[in-house]
């Protein structure tokens, strides 16, 4: 890697943090809503 590697690695780290964070947040929100539906007996076989 060159002397610019700090910029390259930072760019990939931004991608990991933002898109990885969004993926984790989206999956956990889906699981939370599913649990609430299940607790209210609103989940159904699909």
């Amino acid at each position: 890697m060159s002397s610019y590697s700090v910029f390259i690695l930072s760019a990939y780290l931004v991608v990991l943090v933002v898109l990885g964070g969004l993926t984790i947040a989206s999956l956990s929100a889906r699981n939370k809503v599913r649990r609430e539906l299940s607790a209210r007996g609103l989940d159904r076989k699909r």
């Binding site: 910029f7 990939y12 991608v15 889906r30 809503v33």
Partner: protein
């Protein structure tokens, strides 16, 4: 087109997304593994920009997806306002934060690419400013859709913003042709064909495909969540 109308029903959409999501998730992970190998290890440094060209493999796909995501919001907004598709509002609520995150990635990686190439993290040129405006349009859409006690009113207000804001997309695309900008002109989507060597173009297109898979996956997951959340709200109101 008949298939798209079939999916406009939230329950059918939910069944469809649950069927495709496992294979889509697997394909996304696999595509990113290959894409990162191509982008970081296999592709050569650029003859002018050296190793910093590797930032392009995440910067350009995120720019494309943030613009494509906003075009999707406009289509969904029109579907909501004109045809009142029940799924359009829920999918727009799901897609807006995804598009905003891709716009943020585009701005941040562009800034990190600009520092070594231009000597500055930011300049108020037409391309960068219109891209920043796109990010703010996404934030406005998210805020508007959640600003009312009645979610239908919020969805309609956000749909109008999506339709008005779509004028920014051609401005972003052609800003480098219409004005003198520090940002380089188009080098891929040109009438004369791409100006990039295949050893760099192929990893770029592969990464763009990986980003597209992730975008679709996130929109599906979040739309499913919005459908379930709306069911919970209806159940709470009727209790």
């Amino acid at each position: 087109m008949a298939d798209l109308h079939f999916l406009a029903n939230p329950a059918r959409f939910r069944r469809f997304s649950q069927r495709v999501m496992p294979s889509l998730g697997f394909a996304t992970v696999l595509a990113f593994a290959v894409g990162l190998y191509l982008a970081l290890l296999q592709s050569p440094p650029d003859y002018q920009q050296g190793e910093t060209v590797r930032i392009m493999f995440v910067h350009v796909p995120s720019a494309w997806l943030s613009m494509g995501g906003y075009a999707l919001l406009a289509v969904l907004g029109a579907s909501l306002l004109v045809w009142r598709h029940p799924l359009a509002a829920l999918m727009a609520r799901a897609a807006a934060p995804v598009g905003a995150c891709f716009a943020l990635v585009c701005l941040a990686t562009g800034s990190l690419w600009g520092r070594p190439m231009w000597g500055t993290y930011w300049v108020w040129d037409a391309r960068l400013t219109s891209m920043l405006l796109l990010f703010f349009l996404y934030l406005g859409h998210i805020a508007l859709s959640r600003a009312y006690d009645d979610p239908d009113r919020g969805d309609r207000a956000a749909a109008i913003l999506a339709l008005v804001g779509v004028i920014n997309l051609p401005i972003i695309k052609f800003s480098v042709d219409w004005w003198n900008t520090l940002h380089q002109p188009a080098s891929i989507t040109r009438l004369e064909g791409p100006a990039i060597h295949p050893t760099i173009l192929i990893p770029l297109l592969w990464m763009a495909g990986s980003f597209l898979l992730l975008f679709i996956l996130l929109v599906l997951v979040r739309t499913e969540t919005e459908i379930d959340r709306r069911r919970l709200e209806i159940a709470e109101q009727s209790a």
